[in-house]
Amino acid sequence: MKILVCITHVPDTTSRIAFTDGDTKFDKNGVQFIIGPYDDYALARAVELKEQSGGSITVLNVGEAETEPTIRKALAIGADDAVRVNGFPTDALFVAKQIEAVAKDGGYDLILMGRESIDFNGGQVHGMVGELLGIPSVSPVMTLDVDGNTAKITREIEGGKEYMEVPMPFVAGCQEPIAEWKIPNMRGIMSARTKPLEVKEPTGDAAKTNVKSYELPPAKEAVKLVEPDNMDELVNLLKNEAKVI
């Protein structure tokens, strides 16, 4: 089985978010970048599927040269080779077009990625790739098991889940508990250094959305504390000040 895992290179979940250049650029100062947590689940499941039934895992990132340490980490976790499309991931459409270009003649049985990136939270790329390639897309996927040419999956919905059968090839946006995150071991880290990492130039497709500027939410005022034996006062505040109950 040939699996393509698409990963994002995103700030660690504990990062302080700030912007520079007149609020037009993300401030990378002091920020640690990681494999997107949802993408990390997708990669971990790919490694398990390969352990079960063989095959190969290619990891794909759309990003500039600075993302290579993140790609190497994915190789250390268990991908066999990697492709970096050398372009800034301006929007979901741009990224989806790059994935399409890599995937269309790649003969992949599964294209896995996270349900969304944790920087832009769009949750759009998997659906766009499925549509561009003319194959099914499912998200958010909680479990994925392969049975011949079909995969059995569960998809989370509001308040529950759906059980589905999906013919391969297809695209899945993954989330927990599809697999446990894998921590690279020393052997993986050593071998990742010499695994192939191909750099491709992006297609000419343009983004359809562009960030003009960023802003931070207004600072919170200090919390109003209410004594535990004064719940009537709390109800009064919720009802007459906040007007939410």
């Binding site: 912007f19 979901a92 349900r115 308040g159 759906e162 059980y163 059968e165 802003e215 034996d229």
Partner: protein
């Protein structure tokens, strides 16, 4: 100019978040058509929220949610109605459907939009990014646009009038039905977490799943949905679909009540776009108090039942 709103239902009832999408589309465009699939109990609410016409898809094959077939049907409706704008609520169905429609109709797609667009000099929207920690003012290019809105992006209109309901038979392909749903499991009768105006969440401070009764009692008097922190879902005290946070459900209710949750940054990421936050925690140093509007430093086992009683009393 014409806008289409995609309506989702839950147990045959139009979702509130979808009515927000209708009112949003109406505020942007004025002339709104809505599309809804399967049996609907309260179809009139769509007109009241601001739609002039409802395309009702009654084909049995399309009654249950289907990412690919719904995408084809919506693209078909946009073409038929000459819609240059599609508005929908961000959801587990809305995300994949809007992405596929964007490719089918060649539209610019923005999701997590929290306010009406700015059309002075171009067309831009404010998107919530970094899991609620920031916003991006984003321009949308091209003649067709899709906007996926966040809960509470707009108030639902209730007096918009009535809509003409017409039966709609979209053209779908066999290829749209290769994915089969074999079973759906859903908690019945519960208020869905992303839909709720008030969310009551419990954390490890509640010590065990057997203590959730007081969370449920408080949620019940408030008409709220229940949520939980990641450790609680990881320990299987509560189901995964109640997990609120960075890797779980992101909520933006009017009021978020956190009980016995310390407020790790990953949890805050899922709730920081709530209008108001009330934190109940016995540790006055809990980081959650820094993100809260109201706080009670006290033992949840003492405070929560008292709060429930006080609300009941105020409700009369």
């Amino acid at each position: 100019m014409a806008a289409l709103a995609f309506i989702e239902t839950d147990e045959g009832v139009v979702k509130k978040s979808s009515l927000e999408a209708v009112s949003y589309a109406q505020a942007v465009d004025g002339e709104v058509t809505a599309i809804v699939f399967g049996a609907v109990d309260n179809i009139e609410s769509i007109g009241a929220a601001g739609a002039r016409k409802v395309l009702h898809v009654q084909d049995e094959k399309l009654a249950a949610p289907n990412i690919m077939a719904y995408s084809s049907a919506i693209a078909n409706a946009m073409n038929q109605e000459n819609s240059d704008l599609l508005v929908l609520a961000k959801s587990s169905l809305g995300d994949p459907v809007s992405a596929r429609v964007a490719i089918k109709v060649d539209a610019a797609l923005a999701s997590n939009v929290s306010e009406l667009p700015d059309t002075s000099g171009g067309y831009s929207v404010k998107k919530s990014i970094y899991t609620g920690k920031a916003f991006a003012l984003t321009s949308l290019e091209g003649s067709k646009k899709i906007i996926s809105i966040k809960k509470n992006a707009i108030a639902i209109k209730e007096d918009g009038g009535s809509a003409e309901v017409v039966s709609f038979s979209p053209s779908v392909n066999d290829a749209d039905f290769t994915v089969t749903t074999t079973k759906t499991e859903k908690a019945e009768g519960d208020i869905l977490l992303p839909e709720a105006d008030i969310v009551v969440s419990g954390g490890r401070g509640l010590k065990g799943p057997e203590n959730w009764g007081m969370v449920e009692d408080l949620a019940k008097v408030l008409g709220a949905a229940t949520g939980c922190s990641k450790p609680v879902s990881d320990m299987d005290w509560r189901p995964h679909h109640e997990h609120v946070g960075q890797t779980g459900i992101k909520v933006s209710p009017s009021l978020y009540i956190a009980i016995g949750i310390s407020g790790a940054i990953q949890h805050l990421a899922g709730v920081n776009s709530s209008k108001y936050i009330l934190v109940i925690n016995k540790d006055s140093e809990a980081p959650f108090f820094k993100a809260a509007d109201y706080g009670v430093v006290g033992d949840a086992f003492d405070v929560v039942p008292k709060l429930t009683e006080a609300i009941k009393k105020a409700q009369g």
